[in-house]
């Protein structure tokens, strides 16, 4: 169950320029984390920075009691974690948050859409979908600004799933946005269709403008489910501070907690800015 765990770092490697993977020994988290969930890591031993930093779970190895996070160096929190070497012990709270819903019918098509470092949690998801439904029905569309910002491609390919990559500047793969790739794939699958067949389930993580566009595309194509994983600054990460909220639809617009009601939401629920 979720808890505060003292985890040892067992590996730390730079997988691409400015992209680091840290592997922790944490049997409970490795056993129980589900795709889309995150861990809240104390990156400092002092009171500055004070707050933990949330990292989505990138992979789990339950047999070895290991789990990893993969992150782009962006600010103080990621820099501090990246500096930590094998053998250091870190306080980790987790696993936290609402995971992706892996349900659907046996013949459903699953399309994973990654934007930049949004690929990190989707690797775990891809692994779980392959185990549950087989890799045949799983497609990964991964977009980045340029070639060296494409992450996890080899990992996605290692599952044997259908992978397509796009770059904004055309330096690698399809020249354009990953959302265009998605539109193309949905068209190829015959959506929108009168009977909403085939059943297509879309899962995405990335920058908010991309998620908003994916939500629009999925609505127009009539996909069965479009789940998005949101990112937000969090104070507590455990659902008590009400700081990381997102406006959602309802009778009245109201706020839901990204850390606990999310980070995975049905795209239809979100009031996009």
């Amino acid at each position: 169950m979720k808890g505060v765990y003292d985890c040892e770092i067992v590996d730390r490697s730079e997988v691409a320029p400015g992209v680091v993977r840290t592997v922790f020994k944490g049997p409970a988290i490795a056993r129980e984390a589900q795709p889309g969930q995150f861990v809240n890591i104390r990156v400092s031993k002092t009171t500055d920075p004070l707050l933990r930093r949330p990292f989505s779970v990138h992979a789990v190895y339950p047999d070895e009691g290991l789990f990893s996070v993969l992150y782009v160096l962006r600010g103080r929190g990621t820099a501090l974690l990246a500096e930590m070497q094998s053998g250091e012990r870190v306080s980790v709270v987790g696993p936290l948050g609402r995971p992706f819903d892996l349900g659907g019918s046996p013949d459903a098509r699953h399309i994973i859409v990654a934007g930049g470092c949004g690929a990190a949690p989707l690797h775990f998801l891809c692994d779980a979908l392959c185990r549950k439904w087989g890799c045949g029905g799983v497609t990964v569309l991964s977009g980045a600004q340029r070639r060296d910002a494409v992450i996890c491609e080899a990992e996605f390919r290692s599952h044997g799933v259908d992978v397509a990559v796009s770059t904004d500047d055309g330096s690698y793969g399809y020249h354009g946005l990953v959302t265009q790739l998605l539109e193309e794939r949905l068209r190829e699958l015959g959506l929108p269709s009168a009977d909403a067949r085939p059943e297509v389930r879309v899962y995405s993580c990335g920058p908010n403008p991309m998620l908003k566009e994916i939500a629009r595309i999925c609505r127009q194509a009539g996909v069965a489910s479009c789940q998005v994983s949101l990112e937000n600054f969090m104070a507590c990460g455990i659902g008590v501070c009400m700081g990381c909220v997102q406006k959602v639809r309802g009778e009245h617009a109201r706020f839901k907690r990204v850390c606990t009601d999310g980070p995975v939401f049905e795209a239809e629920e979100i009031v996009w800015e």
Binding site: R42, L50, G237, V240, G243
Partner: protein, 306 residues
Amino acid sequence: MGIAAPRLAVRIGRIELKNPVTVASGTFGFGQEMADFYDLSRLGAIVVKGTSLEPWPGNDYPRTVETPSGMLNAIGLQNDGVDSFIKEKLPFLRRYDVPVIVNVVGRTIGEYAEVASRLDGVDGVAGLEINVSCPNIREGCLAFGANPSGTAEVVRAVRKRTGLTLITKLSPNVGDIVEIARAAVDAGSDALSLINTLLGTAIDPWTRTFRLANRTGGLSGPAIKPVALRMVWEVAQAVDVPIIGMGGIMNALDAVEFLLAGANAVAVGTANFVNPRAAVEIIDGIAEYLAKMGIADVNEIVGSVS
């Protein structure tokens, strides 16, 4: 000489706390999420999130920002209202052997009084904390708590509607906190809690915008501890009612400092975010401190700084 098991029980008004450690309103939700991390019955008391008459949506976001050794928040007291609290949240808390104190907020004096009235006599509610100190909403709260007469008016109105132990939560964003403390006690407050957050702001130099949607927010965390400690000490000199001290408590020795300054109990706030187990670790740490110091009862050290 060490003491094997020091006595930790304290009293706040008519509420018996098995130890002097409670939690600051707004840092613990309504307890449910925290129950994953330890047995809530271990706490001296639980102070739940600010509760209003009708549901409040809260402020727009961003609502929080980290600052050096602290954080600013401008949540805006998002809550589902007192009736929902009684129906949806309280049954869960009743399962635990721990006094529940409800933090009461309002836009008008009438709203404070009505919330108090609805909580009066409800099974599982041990006391009310009157919040006249939240800096993040436009009407009510700090508008009353910023001066002695407004504070007294709210306390008197609530006092008339309930026999529950009343704790008035004081703001540090005032000219003279002692004067306001006295006004609250004279109006019938059984105890005081202090401090609420310090009003502050943060600006992003690159976008030239405020970092909080509300522009200003309340500062909490270790950064405010010296201010909180000074205010607890000043107020303790001036009033005869029990005090719950809070402001930047991260560990047991921080808590002991507040007790020495004159607090009868302490509340753990922002530390709950940093370490969800902070409150229970602080309970154990206070017991260890007393044992090490050869003190048999925690009440012996209250206000004993010299």
